[in-house]
């Protein structure tokens, strides 16, 4: 039986040589939602996503996905888009599709091939010769062609032009498994706030806010982008004198 919530964390802490990257995070994430994991650079977004994936282990605390600790089972229900591409340089598109088909039972090869075709990507194309933008789209196609319960997308729109951003966001919202949850980490809020149900604000390794987007807008009459700027405002340095 499925656990009620897709993700639950209690006291989740991760230290890197004494520095706290995540600090006692208690968090519950429901199913069937599109959620933004929002925070400035270095706030702990990638650390949190890597913990969810089991790529790193918590220093303290606990994390469960569909009731289980990260491991073989959770990898079969989590579709992960890392912040870097990981294809080997010898691979062609068909090699990557073969690997995904072999690894993941929930991978829909037909869907992936159709998406590649609509992007003008041929199965004989070499990954090595693709542009940065095409590589990122290719990776997204793979990730979104799985019928996963949790999609973890780490900075899917960083470093691409606005037209590619639109393509990526549209691909995400049109293709995720509707009973699944999508967690998107980014600091580019204005580009994605319309597709979000909830936001999680993370600052210095702590969750400072986790709320429904509509509730925030209702209460504060501001866009999420503005609320984010207010939450994370830094005081610029004005030279020697104290002001």
């Amino acid at each position: 039986m499925k656990a009620a919530n897709i993700v639950e964390c209690r006291g989740l802490t991760k230290n890197f040589s004494g520095v706290k990257a995540l600090d006692h995070v208690d968090l519950t994430i429901g199913r069937g939602k599109v959620i933004g994991l929002l925070g400035p650079n270095g706030s702990g977004k990638t650390t949190f996503i890597k913990l969810l994936n089991g790529l790193i282990e918590p220093t303290f605390g606990e994390i469960v996905i569909d009731g289980q600790r990260p491991g073989v089972y959770t990898k079969s229900i989590v579709s992960y888009l890392p912040d870097k591409t990981y294809f080997a340089s010898w691979m062609k598109v068909m090699d990557v599709l073969d690997i995904f088909e072999e690894f993941y039972e929930d991978f829909d090869r037909q869907k992936a091939e159709n998406m590649c075709r609509s992007m003008g990507i041929q199965s004989r194309d070499k990954i090595k010769t693709m542009s940065k933008g095409t590589k990122e789209k290719m990776q997204l196609i793979l990730v979104m062609s799985r019928k996963a319960q949790l999609y973890l997308l780490d900075e899917p729109i960083a470093g691409v032009d606005p037209a590619a951003r639109d393509y990526i966001l549209t691909t995400i919202i049109n293709n995720y498994n509707e009973s699944g949850t999508v967690l998107i980490s980014t600091h580019l809020i204005s580009d994605i706030e319309r597709i979000l149900d909830e936001v999680i604000f993370i600052k210095d390794g702590k969750i400072v806010r986790h709320e429904a987007v509509d509730d925030i807008k209702e209460k504060e009459g501001k866009s999420i982008d503005d609320v984010f700027r207010d939450t994370f405002r830094m005081i610029p340095f004005y030279g020697g004198e104290q002001r």
Binding site: V34, I173, L196, D197, V213, G221, D226
Partner: protein, 122 residues
């Protein structure tokens, strides 16, 4: 349909308003098929949960009817659509009068202006 969304307000009521206008304007004709949540969400660039909420509200108000076999259709209740049209028209007039008052036009002058415009349009 050009969706105009203001990010400082919740999105679903704005979607609902704009869909209502499209129905009243006859873009989706009475008794005709209504697009799916998926199609509308894609068009507006929002997620399906948000669009679903807007559609549920339209269903609650009876403007859109969900039928298990034929999907969603626009109501055939002419009176309901006429009521909705009047409601929207009143809102537009209220907003207009407020703006005119802000720039210092008394109601009589506004009326005169409208009459002149009406003659021009004939």
């Amino acid at each position: 349909m050009g969706w105009e969304l203001d990010d400082s307000r919740p999105i679903w009521p704005q979607l609902k308003e704009q869909l209502m206008r499209s129905i009243v304007a006859g873009k989706y004709p009475m008794g005709g098929n209504f697009p799916t949540v998926r199609e509308l969400a894609e068009e507006a660039g929002v997620n399906r949960n948000t669009m679903q909420r807007a559609l549920s509200e339209l269903e609650n108000e009876g403007l859109v009817i969900t039928n298990r076999t034929v999907g969603r259709t626009v109501t055939t209740d002419e009176r309901l659509i006429a009521q909705m049209k009047e409601h929207i028209a009143k809102e537009i007039v209220d907003r207009f009068m407020e703006e005119m008052a802000v720039i210092g036009y008394p109601a009589e002058d506004v009326m005169k202006m409208i009459q002149e415009k009406g003659v021009e349009h004939k």
